[in-house]
Symmetry: C2
């Protein structure tokens, strides 16, 4: 499966997901609630989570596989959860812009956006229960709780200047990995997969999420703004301890470490002003090489487990997606 | 069953609910998340919703009734949902105080409180699914969605100066009635009740919620601050169109109606300054009598349906609670 085939596949699946969400949300009574939800959900997102559910539901032999509509109904749960978390994140961060457009809270204020997030969270969980029963509910519940716990862990480690790599991975696993893993596992569950297959796809999903996050970290230093559509150095400016920097901090000699700490202690503009210097130090201590190596390892480990599924088009797509996560430059 | 017996019963049940919640929340990893949740949940609330689940689970003959722990596990779901909505309400309203204590957002800021609400909402729904299956999930999901839709309806009717009684009841049914009705129905469901019994207890729960709201409206005009612990006139000051006022507006002659509209068009202090005048006009048009009459009717209709349950202690408690809702002066 070449790159274009992969892109075509995902484009088609995204369309199917969008149509399912539009039909599902038609029952909302309040006009404003509907507007807020549509603004947040139909924002050019790639629908990666529901697409994974759709693919993973087809991975198994599927004698017990339900019809396409039921799979779609469970798939959109994961887009709803993602959108709910973005609504609340944007309120918490006072964010005005997302993907170059005004956020819902910038347009309508905090109140309807908090409520819209609650509505989506509730609707997602109800839907998961209705379509996939208590088992799907438990999957979704664990992922949502992990996302919240990760936010608290992130806030605490930031407050404590905790720079352990273990914490970095714990936060990334909760914030990004947990929901992707749940989306994958939900598909295999619907498709009637074995416990071994469910464990394998969880690992794939979690590692895809972690690798995605690491590549995000790299692009924030090394990306081409003309490709990514955003300036480099945001993470440093915000004092975010991402993997390349964490590695450099750990490996640096006393003097270089002191320099990095001095930069991190400066205010936002002060940090940004010394971006090139930090880039050089990360490079000197192989922070970028190390981070990319970790992403490669994670993807390799995630893919290795997939041997418990039959070979076929869906497995090709999962491998293609893993390759895309590593290769992406935007 | 006299008043003291009723109070003793509820005190005992509240203790049981509190212990169940404490045990359940012990698994939380983040220290701050735990602190925020405990502050919001263990705040002197009466636990009315979970108590209703406990009572209603015992209403039926109960050949299929699960053990007490499982009933408790479903009961606390309704306290979690209530607490989640209070967390988010207080953020939305920028509230500093609740029950005479600082709110969680006053202590820890907006971010952990939004997340704590999300956590509770998710945990409640997961628990409902795990204990009561897809049926309990659907109950909880409908109630949560109704609560959000009601918030939007309330905001819209306020913006449009819509003063219809129909809207008043729709908002109250969504904001207060839906969750109480779901707590009651969940109990009867666990107890193995028939569809007829489930419909009857829903009506009871919804009407208890509506009557509770109406009595709240009355106390905000006629209450004794020494008993209620809060000043009268808050609703008027905030421009809230509660039932006594709505009725007076509808019945008032041209001149009196113009006076009421003039008061409502004033700013908060301007409204509060004319509280006595508004009291008189509501009295003149029997707004208080009318509202109390509606509360009585709702309770009577709610109780009438309960004849499909066997006579016994639980039915006595439900009747006692209904009487308390009407009689309460704080």
């Amino acid at each position: 499966m070449d790159n274009q085939e992969l892109i075509n596949f995902f484009r088609q699946a995204a369309l199917e997901v969008d149509l399912a969400m539009q039909a599902d949300l038609a029952s909302i009574e309040s006009g404003l609630l509907g507007e807020v939800l549509f603004h947040g959900i139909f924002n050019g997102g790639k629908r990666i989570r529901p697409q994974l559910t759709l693919i993973c539901a087809e991975l198994t032999d599927g004698a017990r596989r339900p019809d396409r509509q039921r799979i779609l109904d469970l798939a959109i749960v994961f887009e709803y959860l993602h959108a709910a978390s973005l609504f609340h994140d944007d309120v918490i961060d006072h964010a005005d812009q997302r993907r170059g457009k005004p956020t819902a809270n910038a347009i309508w204020g905090v109140s309807p956006v908090i409520l819209a997030g609650d509505y989506l969270l509730s609707r997602a969980m109800t839907k998961a229960g209705a379509v996939g029963g208590a088992e799907a509910m438990a999957l979704v519940g664990r992922a949502t709780e992990a996302m919240v716990e990760a936010e608290f862990l992130q806030a605490r480690t930031a407050a404590e200047n905790n720079t352990s790599e273990e914490n970095y991975f714990k936060v990334a696993a909760g914030k990004t990995g947990a929901l992707i893993a749940a989306a994958c596992e939900a598909g295999v569950y619907l498709g009637g997969g074995s416990p071994e297959q469910r464990a394998a796809i969880r690992l794939y999903g979690e590692n895809i999420g972690l690798a995605f996050q690491i590549i995000d970290d790299l692009l924030d230093y090394q990306g081409d703004p003309a490709r990514t559509g955003k300036a480099v150095g945001n993470d440093l400016g915000e004092g975010k301890m991402t993997l390349p920097l964490l590695h450099a901090m750990r490996r640096a000699g006393l003097e270089d470490r002191a320099t990095l700490e001095e930069v991190l202690a400066a205010d936002g503009d002060g940090k940004t002003a010394r971006f090139a210097e930090v880039m050089d130090l990360i490079g000197k201590y192989d922070g970028f090489v190390y981070a990319r190596g970790r992403a490669n390892e994670l993807i390799a480990a995630g893919l290795a487990g997939l041997s418990c599924f039959r070979a076929g088009r869906e497995l090709q797509i999962l491998k293609g997606l893993a390759g895309y996560v590593l290769r992406r430059d935007k």
